[in-house]
Symmetry: C2
Subunit: 310 residues, 2 copies
């Protein structure tokens, strides 16, 4: 009977690490630096070292460790290989093969956004459910799809790349992905600033947003203060996202949609602006799909990573 | 070692039946009438009777039968229950429980469109792949999603209900589902006729379509004849469908997209009109997703049903 597992979330600057019981109790949480120099050759050895140190420090019987789950910012195939991961300066890396060899423990690897979605399903906003669409509204729009407790990685590693759903034909400047009109361009923090700038330019209406720097946070603060122009922006944001989520539900039909990322700090009011247009466009059977805010914040990755090996 | 299985596809007027080897060889194929009177109480007993008769007729050892797979036109949950199936006049029916009791054989049940998708993955246009999006362009637009050889049934039975993806804000007349602007309203046979009527009304341009009754077939025939107005219609159809499939791929990222149904009889030219806008909007990793025409026609349902029990 296994008792422990490790959840590792590799980011561009730090590696978040967690030691868990197989029931999801956090026993320890720490970070190490992500050493991206030399094509990131040190990243996996550093992860292996910190895990083996932790096992020694806690005097854990290695036989009782179920394994190591690890999320990385890049596409991960079923075999646990990455063709390349730009933020880590990696070309091809066999994560599972390398980390198993270095630690002598079973390893499972996944894309960081998908792994975070699994974390929210296990112990976060989607706890108690078995299928979810997770939307992470940060600088970009990330996502993860879980069906029957399993990550939908996609045949090209693009499962849950919902930020790059095409939602607007009129946008002519390119998204980071090279296409034009992606959801990310209108629903991320950056996208909300775009909508705000457009709204401010289109009218002379007084608005709190005309004072100081416009950010996703300042927009939602103004919405909460009843600012009419900010409310228009929130409606446009919500319409883009709600309509697109309704389309996603005709494919995956999850039990719950979980919204996370920095923008989701606006709270329930953000969900309200999404849910109304969602209901208007959703297929009848999906109309009452649950919405929830993510609750694990930056820890979703280590939770989801740990869950992969249980 | 099991040797045989049955695939049953229940439609509103006939029940298609197939006796297969577990390798997918068709040993026999026949139909019975769907008796929908009296809330369809006779449908499952009729299915049980025809199967037991076939087993007797072919002198098959019942021990060698892996089971019965059955597709029905309605939402089917994981337990094999249907809350209601309008075309069969059914209210709640426990398909798996009832049919197992009547036949003494293991039963699996699924929604007919999802089951047909599984059939195309097993022995049709998606053979050799493990994940697919199937689009059936008939009177309506049906669909099915398969990921890792498994049907995505959805938590409300709406997995693969892609005909009801919202694709156009400007359509104000309702779809059969009650919403406005569904993919089905512009990409089904009926939808193509809608697009044709709009195109014919919007210009005085001469066109083959001004002679006789306009149908999806007459539009594609005119496209093949080089008719400029018909080509405009095909481009609009392809843009709706290609763009929406690109969005679906950010969720499910399948290996192949299979297009079937009556409209797909137009052949490769239909795919060409879909693929160009698909590539324009697809996330880079999904851009080279394969497209294929369905090959099993009306037999996709019995193949997929049989596959469920193997």
């Amino acid at each position: 009977m296994k008792k422990y597992c490790f959840g590792i979330d590799v980011g561009g600057t730090t590696v978040k690490c967690g030691l868990f019981t197989v029931n999801g109790e956090v026993l320890d949480k720490w970070e190490i630096k992500t050493r991206t120099e030399d094509n990131g050759v040190n990243i996996l050895p550093d992860v292996a070292e910190t895990i083996l140190q932790k096992i020694a420090e806690k005097k854990i019987d290695k036989e009782l460790v179920a394994g190591i789950g690890i999320g990385v910012p890049g596409p991960v195939n079923e075999a646990g290989e990455v063709p390349c991961a730009v933020n880590l300066h990696w070309g091809y890396v066999n994560i599972v093969g390398d980390l198993e060899r270095m630690t002598g423990l079973p390893v499972k690897a996944g894309n960081d956004a998908n792994v975070a979605a699994l974390g929210e399903l296990w112990k976060g906003g989607g706890a108690g459910y078995h299928s979810l669409i997770m939307v992470t509204l940060g600088t970009g729009v990330g996502g993860g799809i879980i069906i029957n407790d399993k990550i939908v990685a996609g045949s090209h590693g693009a499962g849950g790349e919902i930020g790059h759903a095409h939602v607007d034909d009129t946008i002519t400047d390119p998204c980071n992905c090279g296409n034009c009109g992606c959801l990310e361009q209108v629903a991320s923090a950056t996208g909300i600033v775009r909508l705000a700038k457009e709204a401010l330019a289109a009218s002379d209406e007084p608005s709190l947003l005309r004072e100081g720097r416009v950010s996703a946070k300042s927009v939602w603060d103004a919405v909460k203060a009843g600012d009419a122009l900010a409310i228009q922006i929130a409606e446009r944001f919500g319409t883009y996202l709600g309509k697109t989520l309704a389309v996603f539900c005709t494919v995956a039909d999850p039990q719950v949609i979980v919204i996370g990322g920095g923008v989701s700090k606006a709270g329930q009011i953000l969900l309200d602006y999404i849910i109304e247009p969602f209901k208007k466009c959703a297929f009848s059977a999906c109309r009452e799909t649950e919405f929830a805010l993510a609750t694990l914040g930056n820890d979703a990755g280590i939770f989801g990573a740990a869950k992969m090996v249980i």
